[in-house]
């Protein structure tokens, strides 16, 4: 990944240049400069690898209560002027927006240091070396292996990216934030096609990633998951590893939109009107929050409007403490905006953290008489917004737990369940772990999780 990100000064200069071109009542400029390098591998070979960079400028113009935006990646004066003119023309042609809130003036931001040179320096050669380490570790002989590990099919993806972003308004607001993001994931499959294992890691720094450890973990899961047996679908106690929790719990975020709840079309709407704010909706061990300053998250300290993002605790000790208020809806309801919006499966720019307990996954297993251990999930989709009911499948390492021990590899399941209802059926909570940049999740033990059918997929 080449380090070609725009600096704060360069962004400020560019934003000023654009605002100076504008004749609108208000103008907002959002600039994202990005650089990214990735390496993809399968069957032990690197299949694709590439580097790219881009700078994207979004200009939002407001004129007589109307607003529109134009985005371009052309930064010569003529192209920028054309983009400014387009935004203004589109705004003038749009109907008046009754929900328009004025652009913000200067704000105070907390500085979040989220850039790491070890990610910026990860060029194609360094990425190839990391992939080699991972593959070598996955295929290394050791212990009593049931099959020759050198025959494992190993596939995965390494990405190192950096971005700098700014928001500037004609009313004097300027916000800037730079961050890096490194991630590596891999899947090992046994040559007979009956076993598959997955492992992943990521963070703002490359030090969050140990390629050899990931390779070993995926291989171990692949070997242990060979020849799965079918057990009856139904309701089971499950232990979700942190990666599976990270696939599942953020599915709640879209329902936290305050407006939808007030309008009676969310799981947090109350029958007869109003919302469930202040009500106990989950087990008391559940706390879910967004906080750009949290050292485990290092999120972006502002949203796309330039609104400073603070710590927002969505669920605290099982009680619904906050819903996501846009600036318009907050004004209408007389509350402080939270920024960041609800966002469906999308990520809050301030990050997302579910606090955990003290137990390791092994300790959760040891305390389980009968249950299912899940490595991660796949293809999660919404089934019913009224209950945040989702569907998805287990994948790459699903095991039966009996009397505190993993006893066998089992076939994958389709499940139909709700993160909201699951958090009310919590049996135990493990240690919280970093999953990827801006995301921290614990392992969870959940009672009566609904597996609705078997999947033949490995």
């Amino acid at each position: 990944m080449a380090d070609t990100l725009m600096t704060r000064d360069a962004m400020q200069t560019l934003a000023k240049r654009i605002i100076a071109m504008s004749a609108a009542d208000e103008t907002r400029v959002n600039i994202t400069s990005s650089t990214s390098g990735n390496t993809r591998f399968a069957g032990g070979d690197i299949t694709t690898s590439g580097d790219s960079d881009d700078t994207v400028i979004a200009i939002t113009s407001t004129a007589t209560g109307r607003r529109a935006s134009c985005t371009t990646n052309l930064t010569d004066d003529a192209s920028l002027k054309r983009a400014v003119d387009t935004a203004e023309r589109l705004a003038k042609l749009s109907p008046q927006d009754p929900e328009l809130v004025p652009e913000l003036g200067p704000q105070r931001y907390q500085d979040v240091s989220a850039s790491n040179a070890d990610v910026s320096n990860l060029d194609a050669a360094a990425r190839a070396r990391a992939v080699e380490q991972l593959i070598t570790a996955a295929r290394a002989p050791g212990g009593a292996m049931p099959i020759d590990p050198s025959t494992l099919f190993v596939a995965g993806f390494l990405e190192a990216s950096g971005s700098s972003r700014c928001v500037a308004t004609s009313k004097g607001l300027f916000a800037y934030h730079a961050s890096t993001d490194a991630s590596l994931s891999c899947t090992a499959r046994t040559p007979d096609g009956t076993g598959s294992g997955y492992a992943s890691a990521g963070g703002r720094a490359w030090t969050a990633v140990d390629p050899a450890a990931l390779g070993r973990r995926a291989a171990q899961k692949a070997l242990a998951s060979r020849n799965p047996v079918a057990i009856e679908p139904g309701r089971y106690t499950v232990i979700l590893e942190p990666r599976a929790v990270a696939d599942f719990i953020p599915g709640l975020m879209g329902s936290l939109n305050a407006r939808s709840a007030d309008e009676g079309r969310s799981a947090f709407s109350k029958k007869g009107g109003g919302t469930k704010l202040g009500e106990k909706i989950a087990d008391e061990r559940v706390t879910l929050l967004s906080d750009p300053l949290d050292p485990d998250l290092l999120g972006q300290p502002f949203d796309s409007d330039g609104l400073p993002l603070k710590r927002v605790v969505w669920i605290e000790n099982g009680v619904l403490k906050n819903l996501a208020y846009s600036r318009f809806w907050a004004q209408k309801k007389g509350v402080e905006p939270t920024g960041g919006g609800g966002g469906g499966f999308g990520r809050n720019p301030a990050g997302l953290k579910m606090t955990g307990g003290t137990k390791s996954v092994d300790e959760l297993i040891a305390g389980t008489a009968r249950g299912v251990l899940v490595t991660h999930f796949f293809y999660i989709r919404s089934l019913d917004q009224r209950t945040v009911m989702l569907t998805g499948l287990t994948r790459d390492g699903t095991f039966l737990i009996e009397n505190g021990k993993i006893t066998k590899s089992i076939k994958n399941f389709r499940w139909n369940d709700s993160p909201l209802l699951s958090l009310a059926r919590l049996a135990d909570i493990g240690k919280a772990e970093p999953i990827e940049a801006g995301l921290v999740m614990p392992s969870l033990k959940i009672n009566d999780f609904t597996f609705s059918s078997l999947s033949d997929a490995v």
Binding site: S52, N73, D76, E132, G264
Partner: protein
């Protein structure tokens, strides 16, 4: 990275380059017009410069794509416009093959210097990949081509005045809100024009302009402690504005809104096995997931193992001509030439000519979807030898790889309609439009929902149901298909956002189909109480 200003300084040094400079400055202006038929000379020059630079740096093969993407989005809720946005993106992506390993680099610096730098970077990335890669890439041969192609449209959607677009959406919302119980209405338009120039060291130089339109419409009705939404299946198409007007969104909105209100009083489904009658507005997505993805050769070979998954249609030697995928009525065609379809093109992103070929014939698996570096692996099995032209990258800064062509269920021989199928069914459920969808990583177990569901008893529709989803195993499901519609009942659905690959890429693809009946499919109830 060099800015455009630096480029102007650099290229002012030579007369030829000066001409190039003027043309590059003009290239931005061209974004606002339809691409001319002869290709853009500036894009041609930059792309050719890139592949020459890659060759000079040691690439045995290289291709370069200069892409200009113009996109417009308009969204409205109830009586207001949520957002109007217009975007353009311009850049070049260069792919290089060095000693059998791929490298890719992309930049928005579309100058000769930027192209050369990206090409050299791609070669460097390929050399790094070579240190790990043991199996050298082999490309299937393809003839060199030159030319240009554009999506045939009567009216370029980008050029339609914004007022007209806004008025259309607000009129549709207004009409919907007149229906009792309907409280919310959301509508939108996604309008795209993409101009792409491809040069390869095999001698290909082509420019294509793609126009695509995607309308959307959803209403929500609020009842006593309940809410129900209805999304009309407005298929995105590779068409012009004339397609949008043909949908008559304001005229049809009351009918669509009434369905949301009716869902509030629909009966919750009883779980069990039913004969399922899938309208084309629902079946297209089931084809996409359970036939389109598993017949991708890169998935079958494990290239997607870490993300989108592999395929049950593997290994190829045990599948081609052998796998009984479905009943004899099942004929599935891959096609990148179909009019108004989303993956239609003249050439793919490797310069391979668009074609149409069978994936499944009379229920038996026949062939895969391929690109140049995958086709040789099955040449001895399918007897084809060339790529089927499925290479696609979603942006100038994405590397091209195997993406789905239009994959469609061909009509049956008889002139059967969905009404005929209903009349022939004793205990069934009709499902229309796409609802929730999910399928496992080898494309066996799937679960799909819809927007509206009707109970069928003894050949007649007896009422509306809700909370319905169907679960099945792909080969069981397709082998249970015992009745399909004829030509008259064929309809082309599709999506703008088919995700695959790492980093994730999105592609547009259409699926044509006829209504069909599937026997004794497992139906679940998706409702729960809080």
């Amino acid at each position: 990275m060099t800015s455009r200003r630096d480029f102007l300084k650099t290229t002012a040094l030579g007369a030829v380059a000066v001409a190039g400079t003027a043309q590059v400055a003009r290239a931005g202006t061209l974004l606002h017009k339809m691409s001319n038929d002869t290709g853009d000379p500036v894009a041609n020059e930059i792309a050719l410069t890139a592949i020459q630079a890659a060759k000079d740096a040691g690439a045995s093969y290289s291709d370069a794509r200069v892409g200009r993407y113009r996109r417009q989005f308009i969204a409205a809720r109830e009586r207001q416009v949520l957002g109007v946005s217009d975007s353009e993106s311009f850049g070049i992506g260069v792919r290089a093959l060095v000693n059998g390993a791929w490298g890719f680099a992309a930049t928005r610096d579309v100058s000769r210097a930027g192209a050369v730098r990206a090409a050299q970077q791609a070669v460097q990335v390929a050399r790094a990949a070579r240190t790990v890669t043991r199996t050298p890439v082999v490309l299937a041969p393809t003839p060199a081509v030159t030319g240009s192609w554009s999506t045939p449209v009567q009216q370029d959607p980008i050029d339609i005045p914004i007022e007209d677009k806004v008025a259309l959406l607000l009129a549709a919302n207004e009409a919907a809100l007149k229906i009792p119980g309907v409280r919310f209405a959301n509508s939108g338009l996604a309008l795209l024009r993409e101009v792409k120039t491809l040069a390869t060291t095999d001698g290909t130089l082509v420019t294509q302009t793609f126009v695509r339109v995607g309308p959307s419409f959803t209403v929500t009705a609020i009842g006593d402690g309940d809410f129900q939404s209805y999304t009309e299946e407005l298929a995105p198409r590779g068409s012009g504005w004339e397609y949008i007007t043909s949908l008559d969104m304001p005229g049809n909105a009351p009918k669509w809104a009434a369905l949301a209100a009716e869902k509030l009083t629909a009966r919750s489904v009883e779980v069990g096995r039913y004969d399922l009658i899938l309208d084309p507005t629902n079946l297209w997505l089931t084809i996409h997931e359970s036939v389109g993805h598993p017949t991708e050769l890169d998935r079958a070979r494990g290239y997607e193992a870490n993300y989108a998954g592999t395929s049950f249609v593997a290994p190829p030697e045990k599948m081609i001509g052998k796998l009984k995928y479905g009943s004899r009525l099942m004929n599935i065609q891959a096609d990148r030439t179909q009019a108004n379809s989303l993956s239609r093109c003249a050439w793919d992103d490797e310069g391979v000519a668009a074609e149409s070929w069978p994936l499944i014939k009379d229920g038996i698996f026949h062939d895969y979807q391929t690109v140049r570096d995958q086709a040789p692996a099955i040449a001895s099995l399918n007897g084809v030898g060339h790529s089927h032209g499925c290479s696609f990258a979603d942006s100038w800064d994405s590397v091209q790889f195997q993406r789905m062509p239009n994959v469609s269920l061909l009509p049956g021989e008889h002139d059967t309609t969905i009404d005929d199928i209903i009349a022939d069914t004793v205990n069934g459920i009709v499902i229309k439009n796409r609802g929730s969808w999910s399928i496992d990583q080898q494309r066996y177990n799937f679960q799909f929902s819809g927007q509206v569901f009707y109970e069928v008893k003894k050949g007649k529709i007896t009422g509306m149901l809700k909370d319905v989803a169907y679960q099945a195993r792909t080969p069981d499901f397709w082998n249970s298909m015992d009745m399909i519609g004829g030509k008259r009942s064929y309809w082309l659905g599709g999506t703008f956002s088919d995700g695959k690959g790492e980093p994730g890429q999105s592609s547009s693809v259409s699926h044509g189909c006829v209504p069909a009946r599937f026997r004794q499919v497992n139906i679940i109830n998706t409702a729960r109480s809080v």
